[in-house]
Symmetry: C2
Subunit: 143 residues, 2 copies
Amino acid sequence: MTLTPSDMLCFALHSTAHAVHAAYAPLLQPLGLTYPQYLAICALNAADGLTISQLGAELRLESNTLTPLLKRMEAAGWLTRSRDTRDERQVRLRLTDAGRDLAARAASVPRSFAEKTGFRQSEIADLRDILVELRDRLKPAKA
Amino acid sequence: MTLTPSDMLCFALHSTAHAVHAAYAPLLQPLGLTYPQYLAICALNAADGLTISQLGAELRLESNTLTPLLKRMEAAGWLTRSRDTRDERQVRLRLTDAGRDLAARAASVPRSFAEKTGFRQSEIADLRDILVELRDRLKPAKA
DNA sequence: TACGATTATATCGTGCACGATTGATGTCTG
DNA sequence: CAGACATCAATCGTGCACGATATAATCGTA
């Protein structure tokens, strides 16, 4: 009864996440964005001025991943990173005009993706909610 | 109507895959395995003597990812990589005794994971099937 | 048989993810 | 107020993933 990867939920998740990543790539490449950078742009577009920790809480990442990613995005001219004047431990992230423009041009991406899946909006939302339920059972969000 | 990551199916998938990865880590670490290495061991335990392409078809990875991964596993003494004598382009992968032993010790891992989720077996299987459906719509398996 | 495709694997460069650690800033308490 | 502790970001090392490219073996066909 040797279980093969195809039998496993974990592998279905792993491989589907990669497939989704691959499906996003051609939509994001024209914008010069990687997928995690796209998530960061979306998060900041909805809530500008987040600290790295706050962005990390939203994306479930930590500074060891975010710092280099954000430095690349800063180098691309999409955002600024500056120490909070009240608490110099924190770094505030703010979209530049170019970054806000990019966010606007990326707004159609989720719709294009949804069409690729062929799923109805309700199916997409249901699946999302099941996944979030599973995720939060395995690893509750912090703060 | 700026969409944030929490609204998106893609992010739910992305973050849940990471959470599953993190949930597997403490189960695999005592065995000295990473998650992709665990998948490779399972695939080879079910079907020994695969070529790199065949393993890649199962895991949906290519030689640029698999070659270094398999070299590390060979260095750990879990498998052998040898050119097929009939077609020297291909590399055959075979578990060593240590590799087979490792597969046996890893057999309980999926059960431990399932318990962590708190989902019933039927729920796990249903979710797996939905994910596979989505994955194959986005990216049909090759060969 | 010779030579142009095709196939299988390997290599290289970049980016993401994460455990472990470091250093600087801020807070709390004796 | 001083020293212990906590918090925040950055750094380092390792492994995975993937696009692009290279190299060697094999196949097909003129």
